[in-house]
């Protein structure tokens, strides 16, 4: 044969021709086989194995051609991988590596050849032999061979698992898989092959299930499995589950410090490859049934990886880069001169020429001559020193005075004085301040500040206001290092009428919104009362105050009736007070101009009652009772001197004095009754009677309304019943009620039947008169 290098040279020439014109591969491959055979030198075997691997991997050589060629290379492949058995020599890893790659490429081709020609048992046996040898030896082989073995297994699994048949009529177009194999093939047993594939898949997945830390094997496996997930739906879920459960961070359990460089590379590599694998599956099918899990696992891995490679290791967050606000020295820098550079004030003052400027405004002599910024020195009263000690101190002090410093101090005072005289003459304001506010400068009086910030501040006269500003200014200058002042929020601008109206309406909507919710609650609970609920006066003191409907209704009612009580006594209505009888009139008049909160609540309350008056009549009654009560209170407070006299009067004419003094009650009562009367049905006589019986006071106007109800022929009976009830059970208004009945009897023909009975008993004279008349 000659020199291997010469042979190699010609082999390379042949290869070049093949690369340039792939169509001549079928002639070249059989030709080179003897030259690179197992008995040839290593260089040639390497070249041969590489060439075969390259040939069967080449995308430019048609699969048909490859399939034909594959039969011819089976022998040489077998002898490459079996070399140790045949010659006792270990085959070179590079040769085996290429041979296994080549085997992976031709395995599907041989499979297709075998299933298409029924008498190819021998060919298949050779392939099976190569396969079993690779499977047997790969785990103990060098890493390069082992990873190629992994890829070979993946290829075998791919072939021996059913794939998709895209077009049954054109088998040559289909991907090579078990699906192409007929059940009765003489050589190939589908069930056997599938079982083998399943076992091999488990072997592949075993690497991941064991959480192997061999990054090379793990990444090779993951990359090889990707195709199976893509193309083999029957096993893709199993693979995905395994990958999802695989933990690439096993090596990192000890923390970053315990990992060597190689381990770090391995952890990063396996984790990132797993993430790429999962993302690739997700990317190819965003609607994957396991999409959420894939996404979640990817994020999890990403976080874990960041955590592992952050310096502090897992479980701890890294310390913030910046010092927290307030601890940062730059942020704590003092602006006061006294502490700049950390030197004591005395030290600074000892330097001549470093004299603080005079404060603005009027200056005392003490301030003029105080060159030392230290407040303790300025506040020191020299007279506190006993005279004999002064005598002892002064001579040495005078002797020790530094001429230079004395000169500097004198200069400083001179310049201060000059500066002061050049200032614009003090204003009247400052003069006032010097007199009145001078003493208060140092004192902090919280009441003054609070009071001034409050509502009164707005009406203070201007000079006072300016004085206050001056004080604040000075305080600002002094307050560094001084006691903390309470923070005073400035009062907002006064509300305009329009704003106040808006806010009032908003508040109204909200309080009734709450009531509506509570009503809902009552409905859903079926309106059951809690057994332990308090009755009577104490019910408002029960735990549920404000929380249940009753409490809330009471709150609203009192808001409506009491909120204006004090205001009515206030200065604005002082004139009205005297003409108390017209209070309602005036209120109404002013109510048209401005929205009144109380009237708003009253109106809304009335609407609320009328929405469902049969059930909410209790609210109306409670409300009217409160109105009456607060009107009484108002009346009493307006006539403070009267009580004794009034009582005396009351004894004679119990209801009279209060009759006309209940502006809110009367108006509210009549409005409610008017509203009610419109809707009362023939069956609602009980409601009318209840209303009339429970309102605190009945005046003629109310009875007029009752009489008017009888205008409706259908409601005559109801009106009559109501009057009868009042006559029988409400003696104070009996006379008035009988009068009303008489009016009814006289004015309404249709009511005569019903009312006649009443009059027959309580005022028979009328009937007699009539009969006479």
């Amino acid at each position: 044969m000659g020199d291997p290098s010469q042979i190699l040279k010609s082999l390379n020439e042949a290869r070049n021709i093949c690369l340039a014109t792939p169509s001549i591969y079928p002639q070249v491959v059989p030709g080179v086989l003897p030259v690179v055979g197992p008995q040839q030198p290593l260089e040639l075997r390497r070249w041969g194995a590489d060439f075969l691997a390259e040939t069967f991997a080449s995308p430019v050589l048609a699969a048909e051609e490859k399939q034909k060629l594959s039969l011819g290379v089976l022998d040489i492949l077998r002898r490459y991988v079996h070399r140790k058995e045949e010659t006792g020599e270990e085959e070179d890893a590079a040769v085996v590596k290429s041979a296994v790659q080549c085997a992976a490429s031709i395995y599907p081709l041989v499979f297709r050849h075998t299933l298409s020609t029924r008498d190819s048992a021998e060919v298949w046996a050779k392939m099976a032999g190569i396969k079993s040898y690779i499977l047997r030896t790969m785990d103990s082989a060098p890493a390069g061979v082992r990873i190629c073995g992994i890829k070979f297994i993946a290829r075998v699994v791919q072939v021996q698992t059913p794939g998709l048949i895209s077009d049954p009529r054109r088998p040559e177009q289909n991907e090579i898989s078990l699906a192409l194999l007929s059940r009765d093939h003489p050589v190939l047993q589908p069930s056997q092959l599938e079982a083998e594939a399943s076992g091999l898949l488990d072997r592949l997945l075993g690497v991941l299930q064991d959480n192997s830390s061999d990054a090379l094997v793990v990444t090779a496996t993951l990359s090889a499995l990707s195709l199976l997930v893509q193309r083999r739906p029957s096993i893709s879920n199993k693979i995905l589950m395994t990958v999802l459960n695989y933990n690439p961070l096993v090596l990192a359990t000890g923390g970053l410090a315990k990992m060597g460089g190689k381990e770090r590379v391995a952890v990063k590599s396996t984790t990132r490859t797993t993430m790429s694998f999962l993302l690739n599956v997700l990317k190819r099918n965003p609607n994957h049934p396991m999409a959420a899990r894939l996404q979640q696992r990817t994020e999890q891995l990403r976080h874990s990886l960041t955590e592992v490679f952050s310096e502090t290791g897992p479980g701890k967050r890294s310390a913030p880069d910046e010092p927290i606000d307030g601890l940062d020295n730059h942020k704590r820098m003092r602006t006061e001169q006294a502490i700049v550079n950390g030197t004591a004030p005395q030290q600074q003052q000892s330097q001549p020429g470093n004299v603080p400027p005079l404060p603005p405004g009027p200056v005392s002599y003490a301030q003029l001559f105080t060159l030392n910024a230290d407040p303790s020195a300025a506040g020191f009263h020299v007279e506190a020193i006993p005279l004999h000690i002064v005598n002892q101190l002064v001579p040495p002090l005078l002797a020790s005075i530094d001429q230079q410093r004395l000169t500097a101090a004198i200069t400083a005072v001179q310049s201060r004085f000059l500066e002061y005289t050049k200032r614009p003459p003090g204003t009247a304001l400052e003069a006032v301040k010097a007199v009145t506010g001078g003493e208060e400068d140092d004192d902090y009086d919280p009441e003054v500040t609070v009071g001034m910030a409050g509502a009164q501040a707005q009406v203070m006269n201007r000079m006072d206001l300016m004085l206050m500003e001056g004080q604040q200014q000075q305080q600002q200058q002094q307050d560094v290092g001084g006691p903390l002042q309470p923070f005073v929020l400035e009062a907002g601008p006064p509300l305009t009428d329009k704003e106040r109206e808006e806010y009032s309406k908003l508040a109204l909507t909200r309080v009734f919104g709450t009531l509506a919710e509570l009503d809902k609650d009552v409905k859903t609970k079926g309106g059951k009362k809690v057994d332990g609920e308090m009755k009577g006066f104490n019910r408002l003191a029960s735990a549920g105050l404000g929380q249940d409907r009753d409490g809330w209704v009471t709150l609203l009612i009192r808001l409506a009736t009491r909120s204006t009580l004090d205001l009515a006594n206030g200065e604005e209505n002082s004139i009205v007070k005297q003409e108390n009888d017209d209070r309602s009139l005036l209120k109404r008049g002013s109510g048209q101009q401005h929205f009144s909160m109380a009237d708003g609540i009253r109106q809304t309350l009335l609407n609320y009652v009328m929405e469902d008056f049969r059930r909410r009549i209790d609210v109306a009654i409670a409300w009217l009772n409160e109105e009456w009560y607060s009107d009484r209170l108002a009346f009493l407070s307006l006539h403070p001197s009267k009580p004794a006299k009034e009582e005396a009067q009351n004894a004679e004419t119990p209801s009279k004095p209060t009759m006309t003094d209940l502006p809110n009650y009367t108006a509210a009562c009549l409005r409610t009754l008017d509203a009610l009367a419109t809707y009362l049905d023939t069956r609602d006589s009980r409601i009318l009677i209840r209303f009339l019986s429970e309102i605190p006071q009945i005046n003629p106007a109310v009875l007029d309304r009752v009489v008017k109800i009888a205008d409706d022929p259908e409601r005559v009976q109801m009106a009559a019943q109501a009057l009868l009830y009042l006559i029988m059970f409400r003696p104070p208004v009996r006379e008035a009620a009988v009068d009303a009945a008489e009016r009814l009897w006289r004015g309404n023909e249709e009511a005569r039947g019903a009312v006649g009975k009443i009059l027959g008993r309580w005022r028979p004279g009328v009937l007699v008169d009539e009969e006479k008349g």
């Binding site: 340039a20 691997a53 390259e54 270990e90 990132r272 694998f277």
Partner: protein, 335 residues
């Protein structure tokens, strides 16, 4: 050797130390023409370089890993690395294996070639695979020669012109299709007929004019080095999607390099160093048997028992310690 034009303004490098007195282990290859400047035309690419054997070990006397560099636009980082890997120069780290060019190809993973324009919102955009560096160079020179010289784009393109014909897109690379003859546009491979069909040939764009073309004729590499994590992700994802029809392992590295000229220079150096170490390991694996016979595994020196593939994480870890500013990443994928 095509010099990097961006270095022209720099101080000339100190003269190389005088060659050591002839030692027996200086490979002969260093003395022949291959260590000279790489010829840029096919006519110059004469007999001394154009060995008929395409296996690089035949031509150079040493095994060479086939390398692919990848960045976003196949212009700055990957091309700097491409130039470095294909420039014959001895390095201190492993003088025995670094004086010859690596078989190298390079790609970009972006959708388009994007070069800085007059403002950040006006990049100059070109198509991959069909635009040559020459075209870009001429166009930008015509647009604003001063601007593009100033920001380093023209010098960069000038360098790239000397390395290969034009930027290529990773996703369009059909692994395993021979890179011989002239570049073709719109090539299609019919599965039945075999071989590339159709496509129009690009004038003056022969693959063998590229630096590092020798050894990559089969269209396959052993190592991919990306220059940005985004590119690594794109490459790994692309390889997963392709379904590994070739059954051939490939180590995919990432070396994170900022996309500017200075960092690209540093990164190129680091990549060369990484390639040297990987190559030394791979060569060791092959040499063990060659030197010491077929039973050499038993007597092999350190690392020999472990194959090249197995040692990759270790090598990368060692490299990372020396280049802590270039975060690295690696995985094994399949073509």
């Amino acid at each position: 050797m095509s010099t990097d034009p961006r270095r022209r303004t720099a101080a000339p490098p100190p003269p190389p130390p005088p060659p050591p007195p002839a030692e027996p282990d200086i490979p002969i290859a260093q003395l022949d023409g291959t260590s000279d400047d790489k010829p840029q035309t096919s006519t110059q690419n004469g007999a001394s370089q154009q060995h008929p054997g395409q296996q690089p070990e035949d031509a150079t006397g040493g095994f060479k890993l086939k390398i692919c560099t990848v960045c976003a636009s196949n212009n700055n980082r990957s091309m700097e690395a491409h130039l470095r890997l294909t420039t014959p120069q001895a390095t201190a780290a492993s003088p025995s294996s670094s004086h010859l060019p690596y078989p190298t190809i390079s790609f970009g993973t972006g959708s388009l070639v994007r070069l800085p324009g007059p403002s950040i919102t006006q990049p100059n955009v070109y198509n991959f695979n069909t635009t040559s560096y020459e075209d870009m160079y001429e166009e930008l020179k015509g647009k604003d020669a001063r601007l593009y010289s100033h920001n380093g784009i023209l010098p960069m393109l000038e360098r790239n012109k000397g390395v290969k014909w034009g930027p290529e897109r990773w996703q369009d690379w059909r692994v395993g299709v021979p890179r011989v003859g002239k570049r073709k546009r719109n090539v299609e491979v019919s599965t039945a007929g075999g071989g590339p069909v159709g496509g129009e040939e690009v004038e003056a764009a022969e693959y063998k004019n590229d630096k590092g073309a020798v050894g990559t004729e089969a269209g396959i590499v052993d190592i991919v080095i990306t220059c940005e994590e985004r590119c690594w992700d794109a490459v790994v994802d692309d390889l997963l999607t392709r379904g590994s029809p070739l059954n051939r392992p490939v180590h995919v590295f990432n070396v994170d390099i900022k996309d500017n000229h200075e960092e690209a220079l540093v990164g190129g150096k680091a990549i060369l160093e990484l390639a040297d170490e990987l190559n030394a390991a791979a060569r060791q694996e092959r040499d063990v048997v060659g030197k010491e016979g077929l039973n050499g595994f038993d007597a092999g020196h350190a690392g020999a028992r472990q194959g090249f593939d197995e040692r990759v994480p270790e090598i990368l870890a060692g490299w990372q310690e020396r280049w802590p500013s270039l975060p690295a990443l690696w995985t094994l994928a399949w073509f």
